[in-house]
Amino acid sequence: MEINITGLIGAASAIGAGIAVCSGIGPGIGQGIAAGYGASAVGRNPGAKGDIMSTMLLGQAVAETTGLYGLVVSLLLMFVKPFGK
């Protein structure tokens, strides 16, 4: 059976992109935990809502970075196609 190398590389890239996007699981859990603690902090001390909000958003944005690395890797695999030009 003849194997089409270009098609094989494309398929492998697509699978790799899909696996890379799985890195979104971690930041999702982390952001959810941060938002939960933020909500409980606002419930305990409603006066400090602004500070809690900004701290929570900053922490969430930093936690989001690892997920974005996965996203960038998958976008590179899908659209830039570093392998098998």
């Binding site: 958003l57 900053l58 944005a61 930093v62 989001e64 690395y69 960038v72 659209f79």
Partner: protein, 243 residues
């Protein structure tokens, strides 16, 4: 089309175009470089900021006893920026950095929300975000050397000298992670919008995308501009205060 092949979707229409297009070739010392979409959009964003600045200056200078609505709005925004910088850096150093942080915030914010006006956001190009992050990196290192003198170098050997490579890597990881964070967020929004407009029949292109635009362009863009400026200030203050 390339993206159609990659997605396994034959129905991707030419509108699903989030690539950086090469518009005009220039011969640069024997190499061909291109004026791309990013350059044009950056120019448009910068010109918009410039026009707003001149209009704001004129409105504030001419405001007598009864400032116009625009002048009041400008003063509110500037007051918010000043209090934003002062609250996270302290009043005295905040005065020095307000110019840079304010410019950065306005540029990144307007770049991020320029997707609303049909431009390709300049921050969805890694060249732009890497340059901004490198400027921030230089400012962080400058603050470290300025306020800690030799401590900036000896800190690299904390707690023992074996940690030197790790400390160096963590210094250089700052601009990379900051630029990738901004780039990834804005690019994700751009790709999502382009795919939506490219894949969905014409009938669904009215009304429904406004919700997506509000999330991907306005909300995400504003959050990312805020986070980028906040991280810049946090890193600079960290170098300044951490004795």
């Amino acid at each position: 089309m390339q993206s159609g092949l990659a997605l396994g979707l034959d129905m991707v229409r030419p509108e699903a175009d989030f690539y950086i297009n090469e518009l005009y070739p220039i011969n640069f010392f024997g190499n061909t470089v291109y004026i791309t979409t990013t350059h044009v959009c950056t120019l448009i964003v910068c010109l918009t900021i410039l026009c707003l600045t001149f209009a704001a200056r004129r409105a504030v200078l001419r405001a007598g006893d009864k400032p116009s609505l625009f002048a009041t709005g400008v003063e509110t925004v500037i007051g918010m920026l000043v209090s934003f910088v002062n609250s996270s850096m302290g009043k005295k150093p905040g005065k020095k950095y307000i110019n840079y942080i304010g410019t950065l915030f306005l540029f990144v914010l307007l770049s991020n929300i320029s997707g609303l006006f049909g431009l390709r956001p300049p921050t969805a190009d890694y060249g732009t975000t890497l340059c901004i992050a490198l400027i921030t990196f230089v400012m962080i290192q400058y603050a470290a050397i300025r306020y800690k003198k030799w401590g900036a170098f000896t800190d690299l050997f904390q707690p023992i000298f074996l940690f030197f490579p790790i400390n160096v890597i963590s210094e250089f990881a700052t601009p990379v992670s900051m630029s990738l964070r901004l780039f990834g967020n804005v690019l994700a929004g751009t790709v999502m919008m382009a795919l939506y407009y490219g894949l969905i029949p014409v009938l669904f292109r009215f009304g429904i995308p406004s919700a997506l635009h509000v999330y991907f362009d306005l909300f995400s863009g504003a959050i990312q501009a805020y986070v980028f400026c906040m991280l810049t200030m946090v890193f600079i203050s960290d170098k300044r205060d951490g004795k």
